[in-house]
């Protein structure tokens, strides 16, 4: 069975399903028993009780630590950090405790927790409620990092995240929350670590994360209709572990690639993708890997500024064209590079 659901409802239904299936699954976070500001957890307290769906005070650090301790002792907590911007307050617990417990204990402990959070700009919420910080977490061995691009993937990936015996950071994007698409019920688990080929094409590969997958498809359509360029669009779905093989095979075929995310370009996960792809597909590359991301500024709040800040299909097209036209200009090479990555 399958019906149209919003991203929010897909996550909500998956949480309910997991809680029904497994008593050990609990949900905790600020206002989760009231549904939270986006209603992602709406109805769960009514269905499963306030013992398993726990409102917490504004204590991000300790609450994340509670989830770690609960996970180590047999529960499967799904803890929510309301905005990824506030993961800054919980990183000690996530990085120094959750990520390292299995390793440091020589395998005695495991930490099957899911940390759900959401990031992204576009709502005029300003610099402290709009960030995309997933790259930090990909630099922490012991964490897995998942970034769904739509409702169906969110449902399927969340199932896998909850089933996983490791700490999984599940990064949603608030701009996707109210988009609808068909979501199977029950959602089948989508394996962590396998990329999704969203559109195939022979001319250029676009690797896009989260909200940028939709933007990449828009870009691909426009490249096809206006320029006759066939872009292949791949959604890695999970950043850690990363399905490099699928990405690299595509790039060796197309010879050109754009990697796109909403986070600030510098130090973003696109750097890792570019570094890995240039190494993996070097002999086949016709142009340098192009990166698309946000500029190197905090997120401004004024609408035209935020709109200009926010990367989208247009920036992907521009980057694709740099890659496609590579070799036709005479600028000094590092100027080209700077151009492409800013």
């Amino acid at each position: 069975m399958s019906g149209e659901l919003t991203f929010v409802d897909a996550v909500n239904r998956t949480l309910a399903h997991a809680m029904r299936e497994d008593e050990r699954v609990i949900v905790l976070g600020e206002d989760v028993a009231e549904g939270g500001p986006y209603l992602v957890t709406a109805g769960l307290a009514e269905a499963f009780g306030r013992d398993r769906v726990r409102n917490t005070p504004i204590s991000e650090g300790a609450v994340c630590g509670v989830a770690v301790g609960a996970a180590q002792s047999g529960l499967k907590p799904v803890v929510e950090i309301m905005f990824i911007d506030f993961v800054t307050l919980a990183l000690d617990q996530l990085v120094n405790q959750a990520a390292k417990a299995h390793f440091m204990s020589g395998g005695q402990l495991s930490v099957p927790l899911v940390l759900r959070t959401q990031g992204g700009s576009g709502q005029r919420n300003g610099a402290q409620h709009s960030q995309s910080l997933e790259a930090w977490l990909t630099h922490v061995p012991g964490l897995k990092v998942v970034m769904p691009s739509g409702a169906a993937d969110a449902a399927g990936l969340l199932r896998s995240a909850i089933a996983d015996p490791n700490p999984v950071v599940f990064v949603e994007n608030k701009s996707l929350y109210f988009r609808r698409e068909p979501v199977p019920d029950p959602a089948e688990a989508i394996p962590i670590g396998r990329a999704h080929m969203v559109r195939s094409g022979r001319d250029i590969t676009i690797v896009a994360l989260s909200r940028m997958v939709g933007e990449a498809l828009t870009a691909a359509d426009q490249l096809a209709s206006e320029h006759g360029i066939e872009a292949e669009v791949i959604d890695p779905r999970t950043l850690v572990p990363l399905d490099l093989a699928t990405l690299a095979q595509s790039v060796t075929r197309t010879g050109r690639a754009v990697v796109a995310h909403e986070a600030v370009t510098a130090g973003g996960f696109g750097a890792e993708l570019a570094a890995q792809l240039q190494a993996a597909a070097f002999d086949y590359l016709e142009a340098p890997i192009q990166r698309v991301g946000a500029p190197y500024t905090p997120v401004p709040v004024s609408p035209p500024l935020e709109d200009a800040y926010r990367p989208g299909a247009e920036e992907i097209i521009r980057a694709a064209r740099v890659a496609l036209e590579w070799g036709q200009h005479d600028a000094e090479p590092w100027e080209k590079g700077a151009l492409a990555s800013s």
Binding site: F86, H129, P300, L305, A308
Partner: protein, 313 residues
């Protein structure tokens, strides 16, 4: 409290009230954007506290900061322009509702991180101490911030270093959609800090003269270098947590009760005659209309400005 002071405070309160009600409207009309937290019903605290400060005293606040900024002297025009994202805004359209700053008037900043400015305010008080000025720092925060680790870290440091800092908690009994009893077993914030041994008290935030007097006493002490102090004001959030909040958790009875405790109505009743009060209200409304006009007539900023404002030169 003498009439002159009451009139001045009432003027501030009406400016805040009319400003915020207008902002609510503009938000519905999509001319103000993002997360907007209003302080309608709690204006007395902002007025009575900031009304006693000098421009060179520092005020820090949180996400519900419009009132504090206005009371500290931030111009309505540039505030409204900031909320409407204009180039003439206080922060050139880069900050918005949760990140207002007016350094000229000592409004050193709001923050969207609950309790995030608590330690910054302590840093400001440290500067006063080390540079031997008599400047005082005030930090506003809600009852929700008290459960955040940085609250206790800051309280402990403030007590240890005895800095001229006044903590002003606006305890409205709610953090977003959950009431205080789901956040802590300790109802009163002044009780939370009891072990630290500095002076603290709880007053009704609707009783403007009481806030004025309690704060005034702490201010005089802080001015001569003592501190810290904590003033807890019991307030009521008459609107949703943010504009757009469905408010399913509302208790209609409490609401009725608190409507009666409206700080504006109470101060007017006790200290200002109706005619004068009406004039003040009208004046405030006119100022706000002027602010909206100012903002509407201002251009949006050029996106090119952002790159140059990441680093100070």
């Amino acid at each position: 409290m003498d009439t002159e002071v009451a009139v001045a405070l009432l003027r501030t309160m009406w400016r805040i009230r009319r400003f915020e009600e207008r902002v609510a409207q503009l938000k519905r009309n999509l001319q103000v954007h993002g997360l907007i937290h209003l302080s309608v019903g709690g204006e007395g605290v902002a007025a009575a506290v900031c009304g006693q400060l000098r421009d060179d005293d520092a005020v820090y606040s949180g996400h519900r900061a419009h009132g504090h900024a206005i009371a500290k002297g931030a111009p309505l025009n540039t505030m409204m322009a900031e909320l409407m994202g204009r180039e003439t805004g206080l922060c050139r359209g880069l900050g918005g509702s949760m990140h207002l700053v007016d350094a000229e008037h000592g409004f050193m900043g709001a923050t969207g991180v609950v309790g995030g400015n608590l330690p910054l305010a302590l840093g400001s008080a440290l500067t006063s101490h080390l540079t031997r000025t008599d400047q005082v720092t005030v930090v506003f925060f809600g009852d929700g911030a008290v459960q955040a680790g940085h609250f206790n870290e800051t309280i402990n440091l403030a007590a240890l270093w005895r800095l001229p800092l006044i903590f002003v908690c606006e305890n409205n009994g709610f953090a977003e959609f959950t009431s205080r009893d789901e956040h802590s077993t300790i109802e009163r914030v002044s009780d939370v800090v009891a072990p630290y041994g500095f002076e603290r008290t709880t007053v009704s935030g609707s009783d403007v003269p009481a806030v004025y007097e309690a704060f005034g006493e702490y201010l005089r002490a802080a001015r001569s270098g003592s501190g810290p102090f904590l003033l807890e004001c019991l307030t009521y959030r008459r609107r949703g947590h943010y504009e757009g909040d469905q408010q399913k958790y509302r208790d209609p009875e409490a609401e009725e009760e608190w409507r009666e405790r409206d700080p504006i109505a109470r101060l007017t009743e006790s200290h200002v005659d109706d005619e004068a009060a009406t004039a003040i209200e009208r004046e405030a409304a006119a100022e706000i209309e002027e602010a909206v006009r100012f903002a509407r007539d201002s251009p949006f900023p050029d996106p090119a400005i952002t790159a140059g404002l990441v680093y100070a030169a």
